[in-house]
């Protein structure tokens, strides 16, 4: 049902107030006596004047125009939209954590330091690595830190001539962007017809000029790289390092570990496999785990324990340095810690097993009406192609928009780029089978609609607060702020 809204600025009423501070109890100071008058603003910033009630109405109203995973299914491939446990919200709001200043003495931060130290240990165990830095603020940030660590390692070993990084053609965009941001030339390696890394291509491209290979396993097609041991041997054989993009870790917890596969550096997305909320686009966290030989290069500081107390170790001469201020997204880390403790070893393994089962179950039921990109057992996600529907006049985009009318957030579309009209579905373990069945039914119904009533699909969505948007206009004539003050 269509409904327009006003911006907060448009609700402003001159003189209205939504706050109250205690009256000033120290002598009032005339600003012009302590600050040079040329440094003072002549005009206040254009902020609204509203009451507290207005604020609540406005933001509550905005929330009602949103769809979160608490409301329903969110089968976004590679995003792992699993349930965000509410107890995690409670523990991350404990005043002992929220009220801690990052620079308060370590002696009175022992609780936080202990949590960080333990989380390092837990994530290292789950990934099969030696140590984990909890500082990176997001997956892409962790990738950058990880690639920087690899770069520093090579330089330390007199291998600074290695100026290339191998990226797969199915890789998430952050992979080549990160390698380029770190100063590497990226070389794309083609997938074979089974959707995995082409070993011959790898042997051809791997050389003493290459710093390493970035891989996701299972890859972005939801397929397990069966040749991973051989891949690791090829890369290591030429002195390169293997980087693991942990976006798909939800498929393998307790089943296999990137460390055991031969990876040297891994990043995890805590807002994916480890249940921390997406928040509409952040904050997340992207810790990086490394094998022993790369530990000295991790970002600064690390948390250590001397037998009696926990402390920050800044004395790390080989570290890549600081990549962010303070110590990372601490309250996000608290949530991940709580999640791992809630799940326990059995829970983590069951989560991955169920995620993989859910995905295969759905793939099996959808394959009759939608083309399957690769005919293999999938892991926790799978990729369909909307090519059949495209030939009938409706694109993957149309299908996605029509799903909105059925009350679902659509799967990931048009990624990975190596599959035409890609639809990537990830039905996480926190979804019950009846929800999967309802989604399957909707997909099958839409396949019918494409054949019998394509106009309905092409003009979707019909039931959302706004219809399909003119994205061309938004890009051609960017209006990025309100100016009607």
């Amino acid at each position: 049902m269509r409904k327009e809204t006003k911006l907060i600025f448009e609700k402003s009423v001159t003189g209205r107030r939504g706050y109250q501070l205690p009256p000033l109890d120290t002598p009032a100071v005339d600003l012009a006596t302590v600050l040079p008058v040329e440094m003072l603003r002549s005009k206040p910033p254009g902020l609204p004047e509203i009451s507290e009630v207005d604020a609540i109405r406005h933001f509550t109203g905005l929330s009602q125009r949103n769809y979160g995973v608490d409301a329903g299914f969110y089968p976004l491939g590679s995003c792992t939209m699993k349930y965000n446990p509410k107890i995690n919200e409670d523990v991350s709001r404990l005043v002992g954590f929220t009220n801690s200043h990052p620079y308060q003495p370590e002696a009175v931060s022992q609780g936080s330091l202990e949590l960080l130290y333990r989380l390092d240990g837990l994530l290292s165990e789950i990934t099969g690595m030696a140590r984990t830095s909890l500082i990176p603020a997001a997956g892409a940030h962790g990738e950058l830190a990880g690639i920087m660590a690899i770069k520093a390692y090579h330089r330390h070993n007199g291998q600074q001539h290695r100026n290339k990084f191998l990226i797969t053609d199915s890789a998430h965009g952050t992979n080549p962007a990160t390698a380029a941001a770190a100063g590497y030339e990226t070389i794309e390696i083609k997938s074979n017809e089974r959707g995995g890394v082409d070993l011959d291509e790898l042997r051809r491209l791997m050389s003493s000029d290459v710093a390493g290979l970035m891989l996701t396993n299972p890859n972005t097609l939801g397929l397990f790289e069966k040749d991973i041991v051989e891949i690791a041997a090829i890369v290591h054989g030429e002195g390169g390092l293997l980087y693991y993009d942990g976006a798909n870790a939800n498929a393998i917890m307790g089943i296999t570990r990137p460390g055991d596969m031969g990876f040297d550096v891994v990043h995890l997305n805590l807002h994916k496999s480890f249940s921390t909320p997406h928040g509409g686009g952040g904050p997340g966290a992207g810790p990086i785990g490394v094998k022993e030989r790369l530990v000295p290069f991790l970002p600064c500081p690390m948390v250590e324990f001397d037998g009696t107390k926990y402390y920050f170790d800044f004395n790390r001469p080989l570290s890549v340095g600081r990549i962010k201020n303070f110590y990372g997204h601490f309250l996000v880390l608290v949530r991940a810690y709580a999640y791992i403790l809630s799940m326990g070893p059995d829970g983590l393994r069951q989560a991955s097993e169920t995620a993989v089962l859910n995905a295969n179950y759905m793939l099996n039921k959808l394959r009759e009406r939608y083309d399957v990109a690769y005919d293999r057992i999938c892991m926790h996600e799978f990729v369909l192609s909307g090519q059949r529907q495209k030939a009938q006049g409706c694109s993957t985009l149309d299908i996605a928009k029509r799903l909105l009318d059925y009350g679902f957030h659509p799967p990931t579309v048009y990624f990975p780029m190596i599959v035409k009209e890609a639809i990537m579905v990830e039905p996480v373990e926190t979804e019950p089978v009846e929800v999967l069945d309802t989604f399957i039914a909707a997909m099958l119904k839409i396949a019918d609609e494409v054949e019998t009533n394509p106009a309905l699909v092409k003009s979707a969505p019909h039931t959302t607060v706004v219809g399909r948007l003119d994205e061309v206009k938004a890009a051609r004539q960017p209006v990025l702020r309100y100016t009607g003050h």
């Binding site: 048009y414 994205e471 061309v472 890009a475 051609r476």
Partner: protein
Amino acid sequence: MNIPTELLYSKDHEWVRVEGDIAYIGITDYAQSSLGDIVFIEMPALGSTVRMGGTFGVIESVKAASDLFCPVSGTVVNVNPTLEENPGLLNSDSYANWIMAVNLEDKAELAGLLDALAYKNTLK
């Protein structure tokens, strides 16, 4: 698919119109059609050098950004100012709206370009 016969073409879907020592360069009808609604074009700085086969700019649609590959070598003497404000003109008429003018370094390079028929054949 519109392919004017008086122009020369590159396999990267650019057209070239030579006027004396200057080559006017744009994108073909096929290119604008594949890109969809064009929202922005990044053009080279005046006076910069371009090389045949090298990139000279970026063209953006809502969902993609593609490099523009240069069909000739030389110095950029002019870029089309209307495209900054109105990149959609490339969709309306990709031949009337040239992107840049290059002072040709080596006219012999033109022999390596395709004529209308040869370009049409590459589209099969």
